[in-house]
Amino acid sequence: MAVILKTEGLNKVYRLGSFTRSREIKALNDINIHVESDKPVIVSVVGESGSGKTTLAKTLLRLVEPSSGRATIYDQVVAGAGATAHGRTFLAAVQPIFQNPFEAFSRYRPVDAYLHETATRVAGLDRSQANDAVAEALAAVGLDAVDVRGKYTNQFSGGELQRVSIARALIPKPNLIIADEPVSMIDASRRMIIINLFRKLKEEAGRSFLYITHDLATAYYISDFVAVMSKGTLVEFGPAKEVMSNPQHSYTRLLLDSIPTTRTRWRPRAAKAA
């Protein structure tokens, strides 16, 4: 049973205002998550805006320094005091997928340049191995290398570009891929293409995912574990089906009741004259 993700007493405090009267905002408040499994898993972190779910993702990606506490992925301490993984080992352990695919690539560089750089610099492959790895990663997300070579961001749809972004993250075969709201910018009708892709990559490519979202329905659909966050604190954590079908915490229940589903109506309809 490998420790896929462990956070111990993770805190992040932002100090606002001048030295005289400063307000403290607790973006992360003593987060303790422990995920152990012998096969790859998808862990979802759900919560409203300002709940701290993005700060958690940024802390694990070391884009934000935690105020205290530690985070471990597999056997490497990735963030906080005593972080062991540095440089290329860190990049090989954790890879991100960003929210807006059009912002994730520079407008002035061909999209596949990032894939080749990841292959050569992070995965440490030589030129020919890199080309194969890129082609293989693109195939895994249902794209052909020819369709991508030398193209710029304005020649793709949102869905296609996000799949290229996923392919790039796959190349160094990281222990954990952290996807921060990966489908919120994509048309509702085409989100499931990406969501199903995450599940396929978990099962076939053996990758674990941390899926950050405010959309509980997609979290329920693909995740093994779910963490519910509110105002910086972890209010509930457990197997997804269990947490979602009978939530223990009142906030989780409030969230679940507020989702506009197509099953039960909030207000029963007066019998409509045909």
Partner: protein, 333 residues
């Protein structure tokens, strides 16, 4: 809380600017090869057509150094300089008009400069921004591009060309203004004020034209961007009139960055004012500097520069402190 923090930050910058300004004006002349004392002595010699004996020169050198605070090592001079300037506003006596203190000469010239500068800049700012917001708000219409062209034609023209062209047009070709203006001195009788205004119309016009083009172009760009903001679109969908939307929605928001831009541009505008004064021989700090520079009266020069830095920095601070009054997002955190 927001305003306090904003003001503290801005005053901090103000003090830093003053400090750096004073330091530059102190070290700059001392780093250069020529020593002002030698220049003074050579001037005195020429005046006394060579009868000064060797000891007289040595004696002269010591009390000149004493007079202009050039005694001791560089650092103690620096402290002495700061103490004199900040606490006593004392720049030593003027060399050419000995013994009148430099500070009194400058303080008589400064109001002229600030008067001309602030009035002209204000007119240029207000007019330029009004024309700019109209050009920006109606940027899809043909007529608005005419306003923008005015800005494009005016903006690149440098101060000295504007000044000379204004002299050429309004004092030579159509001589309604004096070719070389004279500024009477004395008690402020209405007639005196009238002649001062008459004589300073051309320099003021130059400064207004110089600022006018820049304000049109920058406000037009801001207005075009602001018109696409959601709150302006929603105002349109509420059925508000063009006038209300242009003034209360677009101008009220687009003018905020223009206030900061004005504060920042004061340094450059001040340069323009100095140059205009010299070309129109307008009795301000600029003219004072020019005559001091050509007659080698260094202390008047350093005093004028230090005070102009203080004046510009203070004007900038005042404008920046007005900003929170215009932007509720800073007033109410």
């Amino acid at each position: 809380m927001g305003v306090l923090q904003y003001v503290a930050k801005r005053v901090g910058l103000y003090l830093a600017v003053l400090f750096i300004g004073l330091t530059i004006t102190f070290f700059l002349p001392r780093l250069l090869p020529t020593n002002p004392i030698d220049a003074y002595i050579s001037q005195l010699q020429s005046r006394a057509n060579g009868q000064l004996t060797a000891e007289a020169i040595i004696q002269l050198r010591t009390n000149l150094e004493e007079l202009y605070g050039l005694k001791g090592n560089l650092f103690s001079q620096y402290l002495g300089y700061l103490n004199r300037v900040i606490f006593h506003l004392d720049f030593g006596p003027s060399f050419t008009y000995y013994p009148t203190p430099v500070s009194s000469m400058i303080l008589t010239a400064l109001p002229w400069t600030l008067g001309l500068l602030l009035i002209a800049t204000l007119i240029a700012w207000v007019l330029g921004n009004l024309v700019g917001v109209v050009a920006g708000y109606f940027h899809t219409k043909r007529a608005a591009t005419v306003l923008e062209v005015v800005g494009i034609l005016l903006y690149p023209i440098p101060y000295y060309i504007l000044a000379v062209s204004v002299i050429l047009l309004l004092a030579y070709v159509i001589p309604i203004f004096p070719l070389s203006p004279t500024f009477p001195v004395g008690p402020l009788t209405p007639a005196l004020v009238g002649s001062i205004v008459y004589n300073s119309t051309l320099p003021a016009l130059t400064l207004v034209l110089a600022g006018f083009g820049w304000n049109i172009l920058s406000m037009k760009a801001l207005a075009v961007a602001t018109t696409e903001e959601p709150y302006v679109t929603f105002a349109r969908l509420k059925g508000t009139s063009n006038w209300t939307r242009m003034v209360r929605y677009v101008f009220r928001n687009a003018m905020l960055p223009q206030v900061t831009a004005l504060a920042l541009s004061l340094g450059t505008v001040f340069n323009g004012a100095l140059l205009t004064e010299i070309l129109f021989s307008y009795p301000g700090v600029g003219l004072l500097m020019r005559t001091a520079a050509s007659s080698g009266d260094y202390d008047v020069l350093y005093g004028a520069i230090t005070l102009s830095i203080v004046a510009v920095a203070t004007a900038g601070l005042v404008i920046d402190l007005i900003y929170p009054l215009l932007d509720p997002r800073i007033r109410h955190r």
